[in-house]
Symmetry: C2
Subunit: 106 residues, 2 copies
């Protein structure tokens, strides 16, 4: 089933927000974090270790994602576990991924 894209009237504001939203996916570090969290919540240190990144880098990027409500933190003792906040995120990730993989095949 192929959906025809139908253009709606979308305000400048909404288009701006949309581009801002896509920006969150437009960085390698953040997309790797998002990818990791697709399999479940994880602590900051675990993310850093798994992705082989400095703790500070991960914290900075998590703050950006958290501020945008893409991830949400839960404290447990001194660890803070981050999880994806929105169900749509996986969908967007996968749609983009499908495109990339489709193009790879040619």
């Amino acid at each position: 089933m192929k959906k025809e894209p139908i253009m709606q009237n979308i305000s400048l504001d909404t288009l701006f927000e949309l581009s801002e939203f896509f920006k969150f996916f437009g960085d390698t570090t953040r997309i790797r974090v998002i990818h990791l969290l697709l399999s479940g919540e994880m602590s900051v240190s675990a993310i850093a270790e798994k992705l082989n990144l400095e703790q500070s880098v991960v914290s900075h990027q998590l703050r950006i994602l958290r501020t945008a409500n893409l991830v949400k933190p839960t404290r447990d003792g001194r660890k803070i576990y981050y999880a994806l906040d929105d169900e749509h995120i996986g969908e967007i990730f996968n749609t983009g991924l499908a495109h990339i993989l489709h193009k790879k095949k040619g």
Copy 2:
């Protein structure tokens, strides 16, 4: 029907390409151009006029989209008409838009 995001093993390279891909949507000018082209092909000058942007701004951004094969040009006389090259683009645009609109409602 809600799809559970299932994490696959994705190479670092692919994740990088994915973030690069999302970058194209992460700019107001480009997302406005993409939005416009969802309704069909359009010449450079028509895009510039419709979006109230300098011709040079539009050309620069079109080059970026063209290089990434997101749009394709067709010359007719001295006008060049640009169209979205990939069917996925509308899908990705709409998925992001759905997210934005969903959040607006709260």
